[in-house]
Symmetry: C2
Subunit: 335 residues, 2 copies
């Protein structure tokens, strides 16, 4: 996908064609970060190293290795190392990360002691901090962006649950966040409820701010309605240059846009599909029966209702988890 | 989805909006027909009856109950009753079909003794015949369409493997088939390889012929790249009024557009999601571990390569079926 490099620069219309590619597209892999929401980030080192090594060989641009979660809120022991991403833990996997791939962590607004726990970039093997925020937390998120930027990191911003934000609020939010020192703002379909037409109209709206400020737009999908990959393509077509994919779609609940589909679609010759398939086959697929992510029917239902999947997660983990009709009845009852 | 009825009639632009619906959209359920490709159509009566009853209550417009396969080619016994759809077998399930739902069968070009095996519509409980054809079989398919039309059936036409037809050939084919007495021509993404932009451009092309001849355009997707549902929506947005969904996406290989997603998307109040979820829970999901359909990685690969999934099916059924890397290497070797 993408215009030839020489056609692309400076053009507001960033659509691609079928025999070239858009070198500006950068892929981030949050497999460990998002997948860890299913096991309190208790992955063993071999797993994290396998994802890291596959991403490097596959030409992935960023690996998001976990969260900078507050230790008071998420006690070590109860939560594995990728909930906190201490420098020593990361270096045990990546050393000095002598590769072209950048490493990022996610920092959640109100769930991160960012002033203390995020050390200066010059002392860290990390390259980027992705701040995740709901629209009502933007003042905190802005402070986190400034903090990480001053510490020397590239800063990305995830605006979560975008399908549940009213237009007026969204416009106000975009005015503010695109004026912070972020390099990209991600549209996040937290409920997996967006249809392609909605992705197109949101991406256009975000792109207007990106062009005003010289930043990039990103897209992070969820697969509740089997639309994460399709929606990622739509966002790319409308100009989003930052996209997320996870190995085998691994991620909480219905999971994410599968990396093996995304990389098969992107035409930049730097991307390699084979190491991704190998990592999935050896390390990720074997976890499926235990962690059980994927677009199962209760997630279809919450996605269709534009609701957070937490009710579906809870139901599926309960004693009655196979009674999808009961879940449907329960959700309509609540309406 | 869809304009209000009074806005819609006669407008060439058939896009919908978010709070109304398009009553012209008709859904066909080929669960038994397409799913039967995995078990030689040896479903027991309870299963076929469950799908029939769910479709009726759910407001589905057509149920495609199987094939009219040639008995010399597909010997009874070796193949179950839904490979031939003898009148007695159908009536054992549906009686006189005293419902608003139409019943259809598929008749494959060159794999059907249509002159003998398709009886006059007045003697049959069937309402429609869907003729399936590759582009090189169109002369046979046209004869089949005329035969079924003369016998009194509504005739639908599936143009298969559309992603592998050159534009010039496709234009010639559409000139011919839209001028036959069919009520709808379906775009069939046999390889599950189409991306949304391609679906949009194909649907526009088909729609031009539909408007010229007063017929409808349909879409039948396959889920090799998890795009069957997304592509079905795109076709609807561009004006396709005939769409297919199967229970739990059941169908050969990667499966089809899941009915539970499609019906959740359509806004016509005649559609009901609950009976579909119930049918899936009780009758369809239990078959998954045995029949094993779904968008597994080898299907992603054949979809990306725009190839028939038969290599993936064969590989997955073989002793080495979990070695997806070996399959990837094999497919690239063949290129």
């Amino acid at each position: 996908m993408g215009k030839r490099p020489d056609e692309h620069e400076g053009t507001p219309e960033k659509r691609g064609d079928w025999v070239t590619y858009r070198p500006q597209i950068k892929v981030l892999d949050p497999t460990v970060r998002d997948g860890g929401l299913m096991n309190n980030h208790k992955f063993d080192d071999d797993f994290v190293r396998a994802v890291y090594e596959a991403d490097v060989v596959a030409g992935i641009d960023y690996m998001e290795i976990g969260y900078k979660g507050a230790k008071k809120q998420y006690p070590p022991g109860e939560y594995g190392p990728w909930k906190h991403c201490d420098e020593d833990d990361i270096r045990r996997i990546v050393g000095e990360n002598p590769t072209g791939m950048k490493l990022s962590v996610m920092a959640d607004a109100e769930r991160c002691d960012y002033k203390e726990d995020i050390i200066p970039c010059s002392e860290s093997v990390l390259d980027a901090v992705r701040v995740a925020t709901y629209v009502h937390q933007i003042p905190v998120a802005v402070d986190m962006v400034l903090d990480a930027h001053e510490k020397g990191y590239e800063v990305l911003l995830q605006l979560m649950a975008v399908s549940a934000i009213r237009d007026e609020e969204l416009d106000l939010a975009l005015d503010v966040i695109f004026d912070t020192p972020v390099s990209a703002v991600y549209i996040v379909d937290s409920f997996g409820s967006l249809y392609s037409e909605q992705v197109r109209s949101l991406t256009k709206k975000f792109m207007a701010h990106a062009e005003r400020t010289g930043k990039e737009v990103g897209f992070h999908g969820h697969n509740n309605q089997q639309l994460a990959y399709a929606n990622t393509i739509e966002a790319i077509i409308l100009g989003a240059n930052r996209v997320d994919g996870t190995m085998y779609g691994m991620g909480r609940g219905a999971g994410n846009c599968p990396m093996e589909l995304l990389v098969g679609f992107l035409k930049n010759p730097k991307f390699r599909l084979r190491p991704i398939i190998e990592c999935i086959q050896k390390h990720v697929a074997p976890l499926r029966s235990e962690l059980n992510w994927g677009p199962e029917i209760p997630y279809n239902i919450t996605g269709q209702l534009n609701e957070h999947p937490r009710a579906a997660m809870k139901f599926l983990a309960g004693p009655n988890g196979q009674d999808w009709v009961a879940f449907y009845d329960e959700m309509l009852e609540e309406e």
